[in-house]
């Protein structure tokens, strides 16, 4: 059937079944390969995208849940100003090694920021503990998020 939704700010239509995974649709039909598949079981966070204002593991989302909704992938998010701040912090803190977990980490970081309210250490750890990274040991990622917070808070 024809499914309509919004993808990175544009209205799109796609011929798909209701049970097709969102991850496959964005990667294969739209060639947006910044969203990665690490496990396909909702356990690693490599495939995180925004569905409306919530992050979801796109490997667990059937297209039936996407009809008429807004999807934002790393490709869309990377056009924003806030992305620039996050990117700079990740580079400067040395938070990227093999990079396979990174787009998912970036989206999860943005999700922490979007929630608003005071952001504690616990909130950061909780917010990123669904994202597995096998390279960095997380400390530089944590530092990068702290650096982002500082910069974002300085701007408000």
């Amino acid at each position: 059937m024809m499914i309509e939704f919004e993808l990175n700010g544009e209205k799109v239509k796609i011929e798909s079944t209701l049970s097709m995974r969102l991850l496959d649709v964005i990667r294969n039909d739209f060639n947006l390969t910044g969203t990665k598949e690490g496990c396909s079981e909702g356990e690693c966070g490599a495939c995180i995208v925004f569905l409306d204002d919530q992050i979801v593991n796109s490997c667990m989302v059937p297209m039936s849940n996407v009809i008429g909704r807004r999807i934002e992938t790393i490709e869309g998010f990377s056009k924003t100003e806030r992305y620039q701040i996050i990117e700079r912090a990740f580079i400067e803190e040395g938070a990227v090694q093999c990079g396979f977990c990174t787009p998912g980490m970036i989206m999860a970081t943005e999700s922490i920021l979007r929630k608003g309210g005071p952001i504690t250490d616990e909130l950061i750890k909780e917010g990123l503990s669904g994202n597995i990274c096998r390279c960095t040991g997380y400390q530089t990622i944590y530092n990068a998020v702290q650096a982002v917070l500082k910069e974002v808070q300085a701007h408000v």
């Binding site: 990740f90 580079i91 093999c98 990079g99 396979f100 597995i132």
Partner: protein, 694 residues
């Protein structure tokens, strides 16, 4: 600017914004997909395979499609496709290839394979005493272990389990066949291992075989030898259908059927005279799975540094690797070290306790120094600063206070670890013979041509920085593409912590030569070949002499708190002092330290992976738990600068060392907290309960 001062990695941006292309992200025209038909039994004869009929667009690729059905690694005993017999659960029998993934899966669900099942062997215990199960064995002595004068003997047994590399990007390759040339693209550590494997299994000359690395999402040893097997398969498939074929594993498939760290059992026996060690015997056994692969090299590496950081006058090392019908084990960061160093360091702790001496003070009595002889009777030719490292670690961790204060359920433990850089013995000279090239173009840009790959560890940044620093040019004038065997020479595999130290040094020398010609307006090409230092003496048959070009050292302390009711372990802090020569980039080194600690922590107390009758039981992120951000301790690290004369700017090995010392330190900390010996890895609440309640 000092060489160690941090710079930003040169390859971060494309990874952060998602534009970087891993193998699964690259588009190929007329791409076909492949899935692997695998053995469902651990051992037996294949009597027949019945494929369903009436399917369009499916191609079966099996042993009959391979010119020589052998995967060339060190030997050639592993088949590309199982033919008449299977030796482990998951052994590939065929690739099922087609353009429609669902069609492939429907087809596969209807395949029937008939076996005549045989009795398999699934443990080290079952192998003991059976010579037909031996893959390799070694024994060497130092001093005279047979005529010792001693008054006490201390003996313990130590075991370790599987560990999965769990690179975040699963194994994946694409094979293409076009105009007579077979090309492999994908996630890999060793483009030339793959090329040589293809040269062996295909009826093609060298100039019709090409291997190109794609952006690689982590490897940790898991993409050292395993991709050679996959490459032989997809090459055969691409040749058969004349189109590109992609083989990317599912996560569960990857975790169940690809190589892991070898399970081990060690026995250490110390002979004492008046409270001093006068001799030590060490015996290790490894489960190698059904094929040798790299098992013998892992065994050798486990044995060669068996006396660790200590000078033991009389010593015997013995090791055996066995053939079983478990999953085949292979390369993993540390390569034998995590097993043998856990055993040794726990033994030293327990021995100190037995003698009622503080484990730090006890170690200091035996620390090796320059001029001493190693386990393999080779002379340490570099300066060694273990005492200073111990001082530094005590300061950094507050060790003395913490070990004395004895808070209930709190523990602190230490480990001291050597790790040899580069291939063992004369491997770099006789086996690898690394070559590098630098090409300066007319605009003054310099290309690095090496077969070393960037897999996350920072090779591109570090090697570019070495060349740029020698040439005194901006790092952005260095070009370093992913290796393509049609373009780059064979500078060896990206393994053994050799990239910075060995390949980096070749580039350092090449850059020094190029520097004199930078004003030249034409293109300039400089080539450098590996030269073996003359202080290296090695006898591979006897395993005697200088086992490594140089050693890197770590001193690690771990602090743990244990829940007295559930025995849940929290590792709160890890302290590390590292001698890796002169670090080329502090940020890159920190990346290795943090990442190594995370994997070491997993190995020490989280990552349980077991096998039942040859089938891996923990094959998903939910059943195999690796550290997340919430599991990480606070990491405190320092370096001790100790430049190595034959490393670029004085750099030595760093990549593997950082993992090895973590698990032993955690084990020691748990012992300190509970007062019970911990002789198995990983240490889980269940294991503690078992030990405490016994």
């Amino acid at each position: 600017m000092n060489i160690s001062d941090r710079i930003n990695r040169i390859d971060s941006k494309e990874k952060i914004n998602g534009q970087g292309k891993y193998i699964e992200d690259i588009q190929f025209e007329n791409l076909h997909f492949a899935r692997t038909l695998r053995s469902t039994i651990p051992k037996g004869k294949i009597v027949g395979v019945k494929y369903p009929e009436g399917y369009e667009g499916i191609c079966i690729v099996d042993a009959r499609d391979v010119y020589r059905n052998q995967v060339h690694m060190i030997d050639n005993e592993m088949p590309v496709f199982a033919d008449e017999k299977v030796s482990y659960i998951g052994e590939p029998i065929a690739l099922i290839v087609g353009k429609d993934k669902n069609n492939i899966i429907r087809f596969m669900n209807q395949i029937e394979v008939y076996y005549e099942e045989e009795h398999g062997i699934f443990s080290i215990d079952e192998c003991r005493g059976k010579t037909e199960q031996i893959i390799s064995s070694h024994r060497f002595d130092k001093g005279n272990i047979d005529s010792l004068d001693y008054d006490d003997v201390f003996e313990r047994e130590y075991t370790t389990g599987y560990q999965e590399q769990l690179y975040m990007e699963k194994q994946g390759l694409v094979g293409d066949f076009c105009e007579g040339i077979v090309t492999i693209y994908g996630s890999m550590q060793c483009p030339y291992y793959i090329k040589n494997a293809l040269l062996h299994c295909m009826d093609l000359p060298s100039d019709q075989i090409r291997v190109v690395q794609a952006l690689t999402g982590g490897a940790f040893g898991g993409k050292e030898e395993y991709p050679s097997l996959m490459a032989c398969q997809v090459a055969a498939a691409a040749q058969k259908i004349g189109a590109p074929v992609r083989l990317v594993f599912d996560r569960r498939e990857d975790m169940t059927y690809t190589t892991k760290r070898h399970p081990s059992r060690s026995i250490i026996k110390s002979y004492l005279k008046k409270g001093r060690i006068v001799g030590m015997e060490y015996f290790i056994e490894l489960d190698g799975g059904p094929y040798a692969g790299l098992t013998d090299v892992v065994l050798q590496r486990a044995l060669l540094t068996m006396t660790g950081c200590y000078s033991i006058e009389n010593f015997r090392a013995e090791g055996i690797s066995y053939r079983t019908n478990n999953i085949f084990t292979g390369a993993f960061r540390g390569f034998g070290g995590p097993q043998s160093m856990f055993a040794l360091e726990q033994h030293i702790n327990q021995l100190a306790k037995h003698l009622k001496i503080d484990p730090m003070a006890f170690r200091r009595e035996y620390f090796v120094k320059q001029g001493d002889y190693s386990a393999t009777s080779g002379q340490f030719h570099e300066e060694i600063f273990l005492d200073q490292m111990a001082d530094q670690l005590q300061l950094l961790s507050g060790y003395q206070d913490k070990i004395n204060r004895k808070l209930p359920n709190h523990g602190i433990g230490i480990s001291f670890i050597p790790h040899g850089g580069g291939f063992t013995g004369d491997g770099e000279a006789n086996h690898i013979k690394g070559v590098v090239k630098l090409v300066k173009d007319k605009e003054g840009y310099v290309s690095i041509l090496v077969s070393s790959v960037e897999m996350g560890q920072g090779a591109k940044t570090v090697l570019s920085k070495i060349v740029a620093s020698v040439l005194a040019i901006d790092i952005h004038r260095i070009i370093y593409h992913n290796p393509d065997t049609f373009i780059v020479p064979d500078s060896g595999p990206t393994v053994a912590s050799r990239t910075t130290m060995v390949v980096g040094n070749l580039l350092y020398r090449a850059a020094q030569k190029l520097k004199k010609q930078m004003d030249c307006l034409d293109e300039v090409v400089v080539e450098e070949h590996y030269i073996h230092p003359d202080y290296m003496v090695w006898d591979q048959d006897k395993l005697k002499g200088n086992a490594y070009l140089s050693y890197s050292w770590s001193a690690v302390a771990a602090e743990v708190i244990i829940d007295p009711l559930t025995y849940e372990i929290t590792c709160t802090d890890i302290y590390g002092v590292y001698d890796v020569g002169t670090p080329i980039d502090k940020s890159a080194l920190l990346g290795q330290i943090h990442g190594g600690i995370a994997q070491g922590l997993g190995y020490g107390m989280m990552e349980v992976m077991t096998s039942n009758q040859g089938l891996i039981q923990h094959n998903s992120f939910s059943s195999y738990t690796v550290p997340t951000m919430s599991d990480m301790p606070i990491i405190h690290s320092e370096c001790l600068m100790n430049p190595y004369q034959d490393g670029p700017f004085g750099a030595k090995a760093a990549g593997e060392l950082t993992l090895v010392g973590v698990a032993p330190a955690i084990a020691a900390a748990v012992e300190d907290a509970l007062g019970f010996e911990m002789n198995h890895l990983p240490i889980t609440p269940e294991l503690i309960a078992e030990v405490v309640l016994k």
